[in-house]
Point group: C2
Chain length 256, copies 2
């Protein structure tokens, strides 16, 4: 059983492309948000009820739309929809736009994949470096299929997921996969300030992605050089070297 | 300048306690959500405008409420409110309830602190292990003050934050700080299924926290043994050992 989800919403072209690829490999169930959820990070819905509705949207594929976040979709899939069925693989996406580098922390696509990984379901987040609604997902579909088959055959370490980003190139220009680390890049925000029709000020987030991490073992390098980047990722955010460097915190005493 | 934020909303008792402690140490500015934002993870607001309103809520403290998520609050603080002022420290919380172990991935409190850390602002997320609105934040305030002073004096490695969780104990029973790693625990979900007043089904997330990671170097161990846990954390989610173990992904070829 392959669970398919995303963060752009169940009607987005990216998830349709992923469903078409996945159904050639195995039985597919879709549980995806009923509306776009970009930038939701690992948000979950605690203080409100969630809705789950069976929908006919992919021909012959059991599909549900959910009122919650991408992480909610995976929790509901595991606990309600597929409670008595084994999930061999969870795939999320294909996101319209990059989730390379630190974008993983903001990404609903990757948070859905991470939510699956928490119970040791091998999982993959897919993103194509084209924000447009009419992005061409066909060019990379054979690669998407190949890495899904690889993971189904080889499994994945417990608690892991992979963050797969695809350059926006014709098939013949894609050089293959490159396993790498998350580049240490950042966003430089640029808020647009304006007044609404009632004269009240608002701020609207825009920004530019800045990468000063230029070594050839990063996802940003791979993508700039025509590779599909594959970053093994996880939910342990501990900064292990800092445990040693900050160990005198153990000796802090209160003033008497 | 100390930036104070949280995820329970600007009116929560936890942030009031944090402001009272911080103002004894330095100049304080508050930018916090105008409503509770628990479980928002690292969500940011991209497709909607954000509101930022100056409010009088803490006597003599410059304060703003923001319509967005905790991460939005910190982005707006850095780029709008404190654009021309230096932020020496960002503190987030005090959260009503634990953010130990993998709760960091769901936590708005910690995502706010992480957002500050992305531009190398030393930052601390504080949480008290008491979910109630009337939690006693006084018992630990001298510890909260001590670790803020420690960080202001000693700084923090670039891109780092610390996740501080406080056991719900009287001051004299708190044994001090313990630097540790994030326990490898998980949530076991239990969705409550019911019908709404219109007869439509809904699902409401509940769950229990399960920890099978019992070694004495984890945050869960520290908290269970009367210590304040301090986990150095970061935004690099790369699973470095898996780069080696999955390197044959580089050799995947397409079927001809």
């Amino acid at each position: 059983m392959i669970l398919v989800t995303n963060d752009d919403g169940i009607a987005a072209p990216g998830i349709r492309s992923l469903v078409e690829t996945a159904r050639e490999i195995g039985e597919v169930v879709v549980v995806a948000p009923d509306s776009p959820q970009s930038g939701m990070g690992h948000a979950i819905t605690i203080t409100d009820p969630l809705r789950l509705r069976k929908v006919r949207i992919f021909d012959g594929i059991e599909s549900y739309e959910c009122s919650g976040t991408p992480a909610d979709c995976v929790k509901l899939a595991k606990n309600i929809v597929l409670k008595d069925r084994h999930i061999d693989l969870c795939v999320s996406g294909i996101n319209h736009g990059s989730n390379a580098s630190l974008n993983i922390i903001y990404s609903g696509t990757l948070s859905a994949a991470m939510e699956a990984s928490l119970t040791n379901i091998p999982s993959i987040g897919f993103s194509l470096l084209d924000f447009s609604f009419s992005a061409d997902f066909k060019a990379s579909s054979s690669y998407v299929s190949a890495i899904m088959r690889y993971v189904l055959t080889n499994g994945m370490a417990d608690g892991s997921l992979i963050n797969v980003n695809i350059p926006n190139l014709p098939t013949e220009e894609i050089k293959g996969f490159r396993i790498c680390r998350q580049a240490n890049a950042r966003w430089v925000e640029d808020y647009k300030e304006a007044k609404d029709p009632h004269g009240q000020p608002y701020y609207w987030l825009t920004g530019s992605f800045v990468n000063n991490d230029h070594s050839d073992d990063t996802d940003v390098w791979a993508l700039e050089n025509g590779y599909i980047s594959v970053v093994p990722s996880m939910h342990d955010l501990t900064n292990y070297p800092a445990i040693e460097s900050m160990k005198d915190i153990n000796n802090i005493t209160l003033p008497q």
